[in-house]
Assembly symmetry: C3
Homo-oligomer: 259 residues x 3
């Protein structure tokens, strides 16, 4: 399961049934849970003086795709899934079932909840706080410096169930509230209240999320999205959503969505 060209430090603690692809480097200060797969051309546990002595801990059932790079000094719950070429610095503390899309750049020193989805090419600045069941779409940047360059750092916050659409910037210290939606190509310079839609540059309030209709011909509201969308979430959560919202449909077939 360890490809003969891989360079795996003998001190690295790999669980049972862990596979490592060709040309991948695993540094000593790494702990990877059972039943995990590390693709080709990865570098896992890149050393940094800023996290000296702190391991990289990756929970069981992980899938890390090719060319991905993780520094030492972060921890991830079970079932981490990454795309290709993700870069993850030290000091990340993430829950279970995180997905990090291709080319995403997690700058480190941030807190990420459970069941979070970062699509491709997402940039998470330091001191960000990301809740549970959050969606962040391509080319979104969570910033932290209110007057760059400076030594003041005000991380951005995205609360549970919120979604930030493509090519939007969350400015330093801003909170996107629970269940809110930031439209594509927006610049968000003030807090967004729960369940509100904002859009524009600078972003302005558009409407309540429940006013957006699902474009599937049903006339149902598109938000809260957990009324109709449950792909990849744990059964217990989906069951609770069904009970909360009634007969939400489960369409397990869509892939590669990206707003």
């Amino acid at each position: 399961m360890i490809h003969p060209t891989a360079l795996v430090a003998p001190e690295a603690r790999l669980g049972r049934n862990v596979s490592v692809g060709p040309f991948t480097i695993i540094h000593p200060n790494v702990e990877i849970g059972d039943d995990s797969e590390i693709g080709a051309h990865c570098e896992i546990g890149h050393p940094t003086a800023r996290a000296e002595g702190r391991p990289l801990v990756i929970g069981a059932g992980a899938l890390i795709r090719s060319y991905s790079l993780f520094y030492q000094g972060s921890s991830f719950g079970e079932r981490l899934v990454t795309g290709h070429r993700v870069t993850v610095r030290e000091g990340v503390r993430a829950g279970e079932n995180l997905q990090i899309g291709t080319l995403s750049d997690i700058q480190g020193t941030c807190a990420i909840g459970n069941h979070v989805r970062f699509h491709s090419n997402v940039h998470i600045g330091q001191h960000a706080t990301v809740g549970n069941y959050v969606w962040i779409f391509p080319y979104v940047v969570l910033t932290n410096d209110p007057h760059p360059p400076s030594d003041v750092m005000l991380g951005a916050t995205v609360e549970d169930f919120a979604a930030v659409a493509t090519m939007s910037v969350i400015l330093p210290g801003v909170t996107v509230g629970r269940g809110a939606l930031v439209g594509a190509h927006s610049s968000v310079n003030r807090d967004v209240a729960a369940d509100m839609v904002v859009a524009g540059s600078p972003a302005k309030v558009v409407c309540r999320t429940e006013e957006i209709k699902l474009r599937d011909g049903s006339g149902r509201p598109a938000y809260p999205w957990r009324r109709h969308f449950s792909r990849g979430y744990p059964d217990a959560a989906v069951k609770a959503w069904l009970e909360e919202f009634g007969a939400g449909s489960r369409n397990p077939t869509s892939e590669g969505k990206q707003p």
Copy 2:
């Protein structure tokens, strides 16, 4: 021509005069045409259950630069050229002479015509339809989900000869018409008519493309761009454009342009 460190599956079908760089992986389900060059650190034919049994087919005369990654289950016509670090998922059906710039991310399940140019860091969402002779510039995203996250997918369309400038987003289901121009840093939420210029966020009509003058001192119109620009296109096409528009100049020297 196969570097001794490359890992080439014996089942892969490589044409005559195909070279493979160091540390590159070629999986079994791959077919590469004659006279092609695969750079270093690539991964070609990455397996995925979603495209099981379907090969990656790359036409003759391809140049795939280092760190590039292609999944199985796509097909490309002759003379494909890529920059470095491109990521191409399954289900792409592309014509000849496609260029995909460095860091671009083609999410798969999309149709791309002939002689298309994707500059660096372009993101093509699933279900996109891209015509012939299209230009897409850096940090442009073609989206597909009208109310993310959901299972509804409305791909974007960019028709023949259209150009989408840097850092613009094409929203789900939107069509950019033949020969149209989307200005830089725009968010396009409705269809763009043929030969029109739109810009802004949300994008508004600016003028007809023919009203933009070429900034080369000649006073000629800048569009249709095939009046004056022909670098890299086939002789037959260029000859037809000359006949259509008269004495269009051919300046073969410029490189690395990027709007």
Copy 3:
């Protein structure tokens, strides 16, 4: 110091105390100064016909992180530092102490001064001119084609001490003046005067930089930023700034800032 899996051309001229990581390729036409470190999975001195015979010259004390790619035909002063996965084409002429962040794409044929900071995922188009002590933040693009595609190239210019915040586009031929600030998510289509703040799409003048207050409770002005920020700059420069502005604080602790 040369990892046994690295492929280092015997013609490459490496100084004393140069280390080279696993799976890294160093081509013949390369000159690297003393006390430099090249990470894993890099490709240094990629050949190109456009720079035939011209070497890649990297000054002493360089740190080039993993997956980075440099073409032949550029030169860098001492103490170059890169993040991961940077791509640097031929024809770059850069001063000392340049920092190029992860995923940045320097398209070549451009001039870069001393002590410049490119944060992650910066795109520098050809014919750009970047002064000294400049800051460019993530997802910023410096463009060059006023009516794409064409053969006209008007590079962008960013003068000394200026800062361009996240997700902004500098349009072709535009100059961002000395000490100016471009706010996040802006599209800059005309020159920005020295020490002015612009923001928006298209960008408009907001105020003078000195009117922005530092959000550290001190009430001090945030600009010129060298009043309060000096991390990583040479002692002589910092001393001069202290004399120019009085008791500027030096906070050496912040890391990973990103606006």
